[in-house]
């Protein structure tokens, strides 16, 4: 327990008798804190940065509402207005919602799962810096008076060079793509953490429900973000060098952008909603005092939502002239996704029905969430009906709907989560009184602002207009909406004030302040940097409720694995992905500057592209490559063993396909496959809608295509052999074959002219993408050869060789798919 006489929260306890161990886990003081890679530090950085973006974007929303307060207002001119609503949507969706939720995941998951840190702390830190730099690039557009103004979905042809000259769209494309790197790296990290570092005994079905939500979300990110990354690259390439992907005159199609954008965009709203719902599913049982009703149902709902939400994208394109039958497909899918959503909401309602909840501040926000989100879901069903959609399309009805689901489904749970978990961050409680003020102001302000927008929309007011004439029935509704938004903003201000001021005014947080059942509350706030002195065996989903010994003893006296680490290294327990039984010891890195420097190099590279300074861009990319190499150079520790207290002896960093690095490679490959599939989608889409352009740009060379495939297969074979016979020669062979395959692929597409047709341009992109994959294999293999030659590797240390196999196989698969695509038009004639 915290010393009652102490007036400041303290992190600890710090055990003097375990000096090396405590020093290994200490966060560096002063400005060297920036080198920290601990998930607790990185998670808080994500959360605070996300909050700042929320405030900026919220301020922009107030500007929008202020402009619309009266008809024919001149507060903002039309151009500024466009910039303001675009930046509002962009910041909210890309730089607030996703990163802040990932931040909570990064902070909370190891604590809930019983791990001392995330498995790849440096990756997390790298992701954070990418996010920060990407966000700064987007924000910098204001400074250069080049803020994007094409709407948060940047539709072509408006966003092409012809209609948006200048740099505004480039700021958007480059900054957002950069920030998305952060999201996908964090996703891989969360997948590996959830699957590979759980407390002993925590099988998948004993996992806290939040971990299920985050696991599905992370998988959705790996598949859902690539379409936008590909779309952004295509658009940026079209803007920079004029490849005609979206130009109908050369066989392109503006709708390609819409498909790619919404292939990302619709899953994105679920990616935003699911973690927030997971927070609700975690907090709600605490206040009801009973476990979540229907754990199995909730898992099923989350998993099915994760899949079905990928089949809805074209409901954002109902007004684009797609065939009626296609509209019907997407309308049907959009209707059916309500079933899992409903199952999940009923889990919450039935949990509530078990017992009267304690009406704390987080509980207020949970009830607000249920009320608002259900209304948003209902208007969503309305919009899924094609005829109604045509009526309401691009009107304020849509603005109302999207804010009901986003603010109700994400912001309310999030503020609740802040009240709930802030004691864990700061060791102090936020104010119950201010919290209730914040809630009621936000709740009433929200409905005044957005409920009325349904009516404004049905009365015909389009979204994204900077002003409107008086006397057509929109005046009073808009006035009230604006007043409502000020009330909503007042609620946010109260919350932010409380969040800041509680650090000196808030009462000290006791141990397990909310009487929760999940492991993150094992230590009295603020938990020590290593999270768990010993990692306890877990027998239930609510260990703090069902294993009374955990809270009866002092937290650092808990029985469990790895009571300390006398060798002064950071480490945690790695588990079997399904059963949760201990499998290995995962060695973790200490504070390091490399993630920051590498991310900075990438930032230099991206900004240089923006400024058309390609030499600097290339230099930045090379520096980043060196950064990655320095990152991965450390000696392998496979082969060592650690004696844990209770569970016998465990090997360090096992060379197995169940190991954490292999799982992470699988996650990474999901991203790569999704990127490739997005390119393939672009190829097939253009081929299908603009048939007359198929062979206008010349035919690929099939001889070189077959060489590329042959080398790709050879490369996979050698990589596979290298697993059982790790030798530098084999690494060099893989590198050589990868290089030749890439070069042959280049020769294969060389006869086609990418400037001539959009299809040829996408083929070049496909070849370029595979070329990048080959380059990764080449670089990786040279790196491994170098390590072997320089005596860095001992016998049996074959983790990288194991990991390279799936990478090579998937790349070879891509080569084969590419060969089919390149050959198909020529073979078609034969029949």
């Amino acid at each position: 327990m915290i010393d009652a006489t102490a007036d400041r929260p303290r992190q600890g306890p710090v055990l003097e008798e375990l000096r090396t161990y405590e020093e290994a886990w200490a966060t560096p003081p002063g400005w060297r804190r920036l080198s920290s890679v601990s998930h607790r530090v990185v998670g808080q950085r994500f959360i605070v940065t996300g909050l700042v973006f929320f405030l900026i974007a919220g301020f922009l929303a107030l500007l929008v509402r202020t402009q619309l307060i009266v008809p024919e207002n001149t507060f903002l001119d039309a151009e500024t207005y466009n910039q303001v609503f675009t930046m509002h949507g962009t910041l909210m969706m890309f730089l607030f919602a996703i990163p802040i939720l990932e931040g909570f995941g990064v902070y909370l998951l190891p604590l809930m799962l019983g791990a001392r840190d995330l498995v790849f702390p440096r990756l997390g830190a790298f992701g954070y810096w990418c996010y920060l730099f990407g966000g700064l690039i987007v924000l910098a557009s204001f400074v250069f008076d080049a803020a994007p103004d094409g709407g948060w979905f940047m539709y072509t042809p408006l966003s092409t060079k012809e209609f948006t000259p200048g740099l505004s769209a480039d700021f958007w494309l480059i900054g957002i793509t950069f920030a998305e790197i952060a999201s996908v790296t964090a996703a891989v990290e969360l997948i590996a953490a959830i699957l590979c570092t759980r407390a002993p005994g925590m099988s998948l079905t004993k996992m806290p429900i939040f971990a299920w939500y985050m696991l599905v979300t992370a998988f959705m990110i790996t598949v859902g973000f690539p379409p936008l990354i590909v779309g952004s690259i295509l658009l940026e390439v079209e803007r920079l060098i004029g490849l005609p992907f979206f130009d109908p005159a050369l066989g392109g199609d503006p709708l390609l952008w819409q498909h790619l954008f919404w292939l990302f965009g619709h899953p994105e709203v679920y990616i935003i909603f699911l973690p927030a719902a997971g927070m609700v599913a975690t907090m709600l049982p605490t206040f009801v005092g009973k476990p979540l009703f229907g754990y199995g149902y909730a898992v099923a709902a989350v998993v099915t939502m994760g899949f079905i939400s990928f089949g809805l994208w074209a409901h954002h394109m109902f007004a684009t002239g797609l065939p009626t039958i296609t509209l019907t497909l997407f309308s049907a899918a959009s209707t059916i996704v309500t079933i899992p959503t409903g199952v999940q909401i009923f889990c919450f309602i039935l949990t509530l029905a078990q017992k009267r909840p304690r009406l704390t501040v987080p509980m207020h926000f949970i009830l607000g969430f249920l009320f608002i989100f259900v209304i948003g879901g209902l208007t969503g069903v309305m919009l899924a009906a094609v005829p109604f959609n045509w009526q309401a399309h691009d009107s304020y009805f849509v603005v109302a709907h999207l804010h009901y689901v986003l603010i109700g489904g994400m912001v309310f749970p999030l503020i609740g989560a802040f009240y709930y978990w802030t004691p864990h961050f700061t060791g102090r409680m936020m104010s119950e009184r201010l919290g209730k003020w914040a809630f009621w102001l936000m709740f009433s302000g929200f409905h005044i602002t957005f409920f009325l927008m349904h009516i404004t929309g049905l009365r015909g007011m389009p979204r994204r207009i900077s002003t409107y004439p008086a006397g057509i029935g929109w005046d009073r509704l808009n006035l009230l909406s604006t007043i409502g938004s000020y009330i909503l903003a007042a609620g946010v201000v109260v919350f932010v004030w409380d969040f800041i001021a509680h650090r000196w005014r808030g009462p000290l947080a006791p141990r397990n302040p909310w009487k929760a059942g999940t492991l993150e509350w094992l230590y009295p706030p603020i938990a020590p940097g290593h999270n768990f002195h010993a990692i306890p065996r877990v027998h239930s989903r609510e260990p703090l409720w069902d294993q009374p010994d955990l809270l009866e003893n002092e937290a650092h006296e808990t029985r469990g694995l790895l009571r300390d680490a006398p060798h002064g290294r950071r480490e945690t327990v790695g588990c079997h992905p399904l059963s949760g039984e201990p499998l290995q010891i995962v060695r973790l890195p200490h504070p390091t500057w490399i993630p920051l420097l590498t991310a900075f190099a990438v930032a230099v590279s991206f900004s240089a592209v923006l400024a058309s300074l390609y030499d600097i861009a290339a230099a930045g990319a090379v520096a980043a490559l060196f950064g990655f190499a320095a990152w991965a150079w450390e000696p392998s520790e496979t082969g060592q063993t650690i004696t844990t207290n209770d569970e016998g002896t465990l090997p360090v960093d096992v060379a197995s396909r169940l190991g954490h690095t292999h799982i992470a490679i699988i996650g990474t490959l999901m991203i790569m496959v999704a990127l490739f599939a997005s390119v393939l989608f672009a190829v097939m889409f253009l081929w299908n809608v603009q048939p007359e352009f198929t062979r206008l740009a010349g035919d690929p060379d099939l001889f070189w295509t077959s060489i590329a495939v042959a080398c790709g297969l050879g490369m996979s074979l050698v990589a596979w052999l290298a697993r059982s016979a790790p030798m530098a020669v084999l690494d060099l062979a893989v590198a050589l074959l990868a290089g030749v395959a890439g070069w042959a692929l280049y020769q294969a597409v060389l006869p086609t002219d990418p400037m001539a047709t959009a299809l040829a341009a996408t083929l070049w992109v496909m070849a370029g993408f595979i070329g990048t994959q080959q380059f990764v294999l080449l670089y990786w293999s040279l790196f491994l050869a170098l390590r072997k030659v320089s005596g860095q590797v001992a016998a049996g240390q074959i983790v990288p060789e194991i990991n390279r196999v799936p990478y090579a196989l998937v790349t070879a698969g891509m080569l084969i798919a590419a060969a089919v695509v390149l050959a198909a038009p020529q073979l078609e004639v034969l029949k």
Binding site: G296, L329, I336
Partner: protein, 110 residues
């Protein structure tokens, strides 16, 4: 506790349930891709396939998908994974039926 040494090789009992959670949604995905591809083949400029061909593809694919996704629905048990599997299967079956709505409701691309 020492009586439970780490045994990564033993197949944990949740694996079959987990498979029954994953399979139906994957089948749904494949079925969705089939329907979308069939409609895109029949209803876009290139007209790779005729409309009747698309209908035939969907009519063959749907029963297959329903059987593959529905497999395991009757398996008993009340562990969380089994419950999750059952609910996932039911939702996926419904969603597969909904995927066929366009060909059931309409008689051409329009």
């Amino acid at each position: 506790m020492t009586d439970r040494p780490p045994r990564p090789q033993t197949r944990p009992h949740i694996a079959p349930g987990l498979r029954d959670v994953a399979r139906p949604v994957v089948i749904w995905t494949l079925h969705f891709i089939l329907v979308y591809a069939a409609l895109s083949a029949a209803c876009a400029e290139r007209a790779v396939a005729s409309y009747p061909a698309a209908v035939i593809a969907v009519s063959i694919g749907t029963p297959v998908a329903l059987v593959l996704a529905g497999w395991g629905l009757l398996r008993r048990g009340d562990q969380p994974m089994r419950i999750a599997a059952r609910v996932t299967i039911i939702i996926s079956l419904l969603a597969i039926l909904f995927n066929t709505a366009p060909v059931l409701l309409l008689d051409g691309c329009r």
